[in-house]
Amino acid sequence: MDENRLQAKAPLGGRDRQIGRARLRERDELSLVSLAIPLGGEAELGDALKQAYGLDMPDPRRGRCKGDIWALRTGHDQMLLIFPHPTPDAGVHVNARLSTRAYVTDQTDGWVKLLLSGAAGLDALERLCPLDLELAAFPVGASARTVMEHLGVILLRLEQDRFLLLSARSSAESFWDAVAMSCEFVVD
């Protein structure tokens, strides 16, 4: 049956567009794995996270980064690990490294991952995102759950003018349209 092996497909086929002074591209090689913190097990998971990935526990508004792995806090008992991992077994890998310290759910396939970069990126987000993205209020490494054009979004600031935007896979086309339209609307 191996010749029948199923081929993976990115939600937007790896789309990449330069729009004015902003660049928007899909980063489908990123895997997302959610970790639920067992009741009363925060300290143990903290140790395990440190040991396995060298990461501190992320704060609700502040992600942690080590190498190419990001950890974001997405709920009072929930966090998200983001790292490049092309095969569909990211959850299995994390599970193996954290053993029973967290309840692991592979979220990779539930999301579309867009990287918005360039000088006009912030201007585009101004027409999309209700959050205050001034550097002092939302520094590099800051993360938040927010809403853009009615779609739920997890936003992470990778650098001053580089943002990772995560939104639901099924509405990926609508989300792309919303962000791309915002880039097009920027007046130079």
């Binding site: 396939d109 639901a168 099924s170 609508s174 097009e184």
Partner: protein, 967 residues
Amino acid sequence: MTQPFRLSGGQIDRSRLVRFQWNDRWMSGHPGDTLASALMANGVRLVGRSFKYHRPRGIFSAGTEEPNALVQLRKGAAQEPNTRATTVELFDGLYATSQNHRGSLEWDLLAINDLLAPLLSAGFYYKTFMWPAKLWEKLYEPAIRSAAGLGRLSERPDPDCYVHGFLHCDLLVIGGGPAGLAAALAAGRAGLRVIVADEDFRLGGRLNSDREEVDGQPGTDWAKAAVAELIAMPRVRVMPRSTVFGAFDHGIYGALERMTDHLRQSDGKPRQVAWRIYAKRALLAAGATERAIAFGNNDRPGIMLAGAVRSYVNRFGAAPGRRVAVFANNDDGLRTADDLRAAGIEVASVLDARTGAAIVDTRGRKALRQIILADGTRIDADCLAVSGGWSPNVHLTCHQRGRPVWSDRISGFVPGGVLPPGLSVTGAANGTMTLGAALREGHVEGSRLAAELGQRPAKGGPPVAADASFAVTPIWHVGASRARSWVDLQNDVTTKDVTQAYQEGFRAVEHVKRYTTLGMATDQGRTSGLLGLGVLADLSGKPVAEIGTTMFRPPYTPVAIGAFAGRARGKAYRATRLTPSHDWATETGASFTEAGLWMRAQWFARDGEAGWRDSVDREVMMTRRSVGVCDVSTLGKIDIQGRDSAEFLNRVYANAFLKLPVGRVRYGLMLREDGFVYDDGTTARLAQTHFVMTTTTANAAGVLRHLEFARQCLWPDLDVHLISTTDSWAQFAVAGPNARALVSRVVDDLDLSNDAFPFMACAECTVFGGTPARLFRISFSGELAYEVAVPARFGDAMMRALMQVGAAFDAVAYGVEALGVMRIEKGHAAGGELNGQTTARMLGLGAMVSDRKDAIGGTLSRRPEMQAEAGLRLMGFRPVDRTQNLMAGAHFLTQGAATDTAHDQGWLSSVAWSPELGHSIGLGFLLNGENRLGERLRAYNPLRGQDILVEVCSPHHLDPEGVRQRG
């Protein structure tokens, strides 16, 4: 055409000519002009007809308060009515026309209304169009609608686009006049993050219109330098063409920025942005609006506000007339004469109302020619500058029900009562009417706010300017006038209308407003409101302070609906969710239907099929004869993990879950707290601490929210964790007698025999040589069926592979329509039955509500009313005459009973044509249904005109014992 009324000076760019069209005549102006100033420079006096009487009207003001000069802009789809010429920035190619006339502007046929004026007084509509009632909709409404209104909509989609946006600041300065600029400079220099928004395209406010000096330089130059300094500050954002239109809760302000209104074309950029501004503090520096004095025939073209006359002369270099008279009750207004003389314009007369000078009437058909004083003196003038004093623009202070208070000092209302939290007021908006004082106050307030927000105020004092006298005596109307005296120019309300309303018993100002329509036009009574209050005060013998004001509400100036809608139009109205097999389905020629935001394949038409029924019948028959595949990824999936997951499920489902073994699936029934059925689905136990719940498509988000509430608020002591995995998995139902054969060619190394993998089994496995997957043996169709799930990235490939492998069995893809037919045949409840008003017992699932445990909704589901023996029950129905089709929504009536709701026996909730049975079938709720099998009833549907006989049967039209799904 030359510009015969163009003066020297002003802040226009004379090096460039801008050509525009007015009523199809080409004219010219300069950059920096408004349409109004350009029309004035070209000698155009008559610019429109009034709302009710179709009286000739001219330019009255120089700002957003304009009640008269309302014009239509652009052509075709972009046509925009009711635009104030005084705020339209002139651009090359601008096309504008006058409005509200039949025939030409000069010879308007509806001017006859002016002769009928005695009939058209306040309350005219209410009194006149009462009888006969049958003419209301046929004659009166169309006739009134045709005569009413000002401009005309194109009735075509707006070709421009609009967006929303979000801004954040420490301090929002509303208004960029002298006080606003002084405050912004103080705050900006102290390091605050400041936004300065001004509705004008040139900041500076009255500094641009008057000849006063600031810091020893012309006020306009000072304003220009202040703006340049602000723009250079990195944390300050200067927003011209931006009107802050509302003060909302929690320091949120609405602002409309006109991005491309002043350009010929938008070039794909948004025309306007509706900003939501989050401000820690806001400072209202919106200035003041001048008001008029009412006297006989005070509405002729050429009669203008005195401050506006100065704006046209000083800022725009346009002469409002050749021979101008001035009539005012305050020193500021009287100074207009000095500015006119300085510009070389003849001043016909300066009339100080405080010394008894009174205009009682005017002459001039289409433009002012002469004014007549109380003593009979006639003065020739083609323009009259009127000032009745200035009213602070307190509007935003009232948006959260603050009430302004009367100030005798300025004869006007100033901000008072409780202001929106975080909002303070400065300058003329605060009743500080002179320049020097306004600059000082703005500076002090800006510094104070900086300190309040933790910044050290910058060194340096306020800008310095003189304080010219502003003495004002309240005079609202000239009582000696016999001719009609206008109070509200835009809605054609005269002193007589206000008097009549008062005489008819309307005393409260809000009632007078609604009865006379005073202040209800698009200018919201900016120039007329206080005038009306003054007239009322004189009638009642009370001071204006006791009359009070009407309530100011957002928006401060009109905002197009398009701007509020933003991008939410057409395809972008809402997001669309696509299933993993969407591309495949599109290629296959599927028809789609909306299910919430989802687009789901409804059926897959093939060549030779005459209509959707052919396709659906084929999909059902092929599935029941061999095997069918359906994308069911839209069903909600919730990953549930934790030591207490089983206990949690046991509490949220009405039926027992504690002992569900690993590797098994159970149907779960979820009740609301009130005992009614909320949702249903299956939950699979993948491991001791790991479950996957499915929900209905419609309730996916709601159920997750419900569970989160239960977990976080009701039982925080349980170790249970939830996360949606709806979009993570592509899930396909494989149903039909050949389902096992097909699935066994797909999954790797899993024994699918009935013993090893029976009905309601589940397993984590792999498919097609190693792709991770989950397999569930569950059935919605009633057939031998599986649902196989793969990570969504493989969904497209999985659908193609299933169809390819399935070709050996003539596998068919089926859509939601066939899915619906099969579930009705099988008697499964869905949306029509789970409508939030049905109980487990009604659905025939009463035995599932365990009374041996406590679960959400359990207690209240045991209320006697919900357990009634002869209550509504889910039953099956079929037409007695099998050739007839059932219609959902029909109500059941016992044969021979009266046709009324008192005899209602239940209703038909879902219907389908069963290709298996060869006739129409339905599900519905019937009183005491269990005991009425075989009974014949009327299915009565007056909405759709159907009245047929049906027969009660089991809801399980097919395979009631479930032999197929367990096989």
